[in-house]
């Protein structure tokens, strides 16, 4: 039986509300943070509910949960910077980007995914070339890491379902949206202590681990809920 529009609406409202509750819990208490002593504060998993909201319920619910994440970070004592244009506005896009990436990739074939991977790799290699113009060794390091990563991901791509791959991609995209947009906003708004170099440093040192963590957690959580790639059902708690 097809659920009525009003039922879908109720479900979206409740999902948004409950995921916002978890966002608040993760953002306002130390549970959701891996404290890293950098000017930006700490590595977080509090943006993951927003990504999951985008994946499971679409861009609108993703946007609402992202807004909760923004407000929670704004109120959070763990985030020292208090500028809504840095803390709230860029974060609105986390859930939206995750939703778009997931919806875009979900129905694609493994070949399309491989082509996309090649494009992303080429783009990063070009960035590495640009970096190498300024700092030779850094550019080479980035290039080597990128190639190794790309090969690993390509192997993994061949062995996984498209659903799992698109979940991971949405997790990474949502997480990187957070990192890149917030840091860009911080540089543009000239937050004290965040210069372009510092922003790049934070982006690499926090953005990449956060993206990896977010990809893994999103795959596990959505997999568990949608029963994708899972074998058994566990206990209630």
């Amino acid at each position: 039986m097809q659920p009525e529009a009003q039922d879908v609406r109720i479900r979206s409202i409740i999902t948004a509300g409950l995921l916002s509750a978890i966002t608040l819990l993760l953002a306002l208490t130390p549970v959701g943070f891996i404290v890293v002593p950098t000017p930006a504060g700490s590595a977080t998993i509090a943006h993951i509910p927003a990504i999951i909201a985008g994946i499971l319920e679409g861009p609108l619910v993703g946007l609402i949960v992202s807004l909760s994440f923004g407000i929670a970070s704004f109120l959070s004592p763990l985030v020292p910077v208090k500028d809504p244009f840095v803390i709230i506005l860029p974060r609105l896009l986390i859930g939206v980007v995750a939703a778009w990436v997931y919806q875009g990739l979900r129905r694609s074939s493994p070949t399309t995914l491989t082509v996309l991977l090649a494009l992303v790799t080429a783009f990063i290699l070009y960035a590495a070339y640009e970096i190498a113009q300024a700092y030779l060794w850094l550019g080479i390091a980035v290039a080597v890491v990128t190639i190794i990563g790309a090969v690993l991901v390509a192997v993994w791509l061949r062995r996984q379902e498209v659903a799992v791959v698109s979940l991971a991609a949405a997790g990474i995209a949502g997480s990187l949206t957070n990192t890149v947009l917030v840091l860009t906003a911080a540089v543009l708004r000239q937050i004290p202590g965040i210069t372009t170099e510092v922003a790049f440093g934070i982006g690499l040192s926090q953005g990449i681990p956060e993206a990896v963590v977010s990809a893994i957690v999103v795959v596990i959580v959505v997999g568990a809920i949608r029963q994708i790639g899972t074998r058994q059902r566990g206990s209630r708690i």
């Binding site: 999902t15 306002l28 109120l75 763990l78 568990a224």
Partner: protein, 280 residues
């Protein structure tokens, strides 16, 4: 992460009914004033301004007759993090001019200045936590949600669903402590199964993610079971959204509500003026 204790006490959002003057204010007035004061706290950089704001919040808490114990409870689990942040600020705060306008004079030795900067940011964080605690402990969650809904009503004209957003907000506030408790029982359940929840060295990223997954996955599975239950319950009660809905207690503005909002606005302007004039 390591400690399950105190998690549920960390949650803001416990309503403490003492029926004080502040409790009886219109929730819209309280929400607006709190918003204005938050802006003041965020914009202020001067040390004395932050201390004055702290005094103002404590005064309001005294007026609201909130027991100090409850007011300060949310701070307790945050203290270690605050300490790390303050230490970090102390060690790595930029040159003193970073602190901006309205700060104490630069005649102090740098080490004292750094200490002052660190303590100031600490006071600001404490201020924000106390203010939010004060708002949620003097305003019931239904009051808050109807305040959000009524304040967003003008935006219905441009298609923003005020009622639905308010519902999302009140579900979030209501369920935050519940998920805190759920997380606590998940931690205990996983411990009982012999799962180690201690974070390992920060370089063992995958191990730490797995540790976190042991907590987060059951939490989300629980969440989506609650989604099913709640939406079934609301459908069974014929929830139809905000249209045509009336409320039992229609909030009305009284003179003292206008007075409170005006006072909060004045406070914000005073902070801005003090900032600009370099006083404090």
């Amino acid at each position: 992460m390591a400690s399950a204790q105190g998690l549920r006490y960390a949650s803001i959002g416990h309503y403490i009914p003492t029926d004080s003057t502040i409790h009886r204010l219109d929730p819209r007035a309280k929400l607006l004033s709190a918003g204005l004061i938050v802006i003041a706290m965020v914009l202020a950089t001067g040390q004395l301004i932050h201390l004055a704001l702290l005094a103002a919040v404590l005064l309001m808490a005294a007026l609201a007759r909130i027991p100090w114990r409850f007011l300060f409870a949310p701070l307790r689990p945050l203290l270690p993090v605050f300490a790390v942040l303050a230490l970090f600020q102390f060690l790595f705060a930029g040159a003193p001019n970073v602190a901006g306008n309205g700060t104490i004079s630069l005649t102090l030795p740098p080490i004292v200045l750094r200490l002052v900067i660190a303590l100031t940011s600490l006071v600001r964080l404490v201020n924000l936590v106390l203010l939010v605690t004060l708002l949620t402990s003097t305003t019931s969650s239904s009051g808050l949600s109807s305040a959000i809904e009524l304040l967003l009503r003008p935006l219905n004209a441009i298609g923003l669903p005020g009622h639905e957003l308010a519902l999302v907000g009140s579900i979030a506030l209501r369920f935050m402590p519940i998920f805190g408790e759920t997380l606590e029982s998940i931690m205990l359940a996983q411990r009982a199964r012999g799962v180690s929840l201690e974070p390992r060295s920060r370089w063992k990223l995958l191990d730490n993610v797995r540790t976190m997954g042991n907590l987060v996955v059951p939490l989300f599975v629980d969440l989506f079971r609650r989604v099913d239950e709640l939406s079934l319950a609301m459908q069974a009660r014929c929830y139809q959204g905000g249209r045509g809905r009336t409320r039992l207690n229609q909030p009305t503005y009284r003179p003292k509500d206008y007075l409170v909002v005006t006072l909060a606005a004045l406070l914000l302007f005073a902070v801005l003026a003090a900032q600009r004039g370099g006083i404090a």
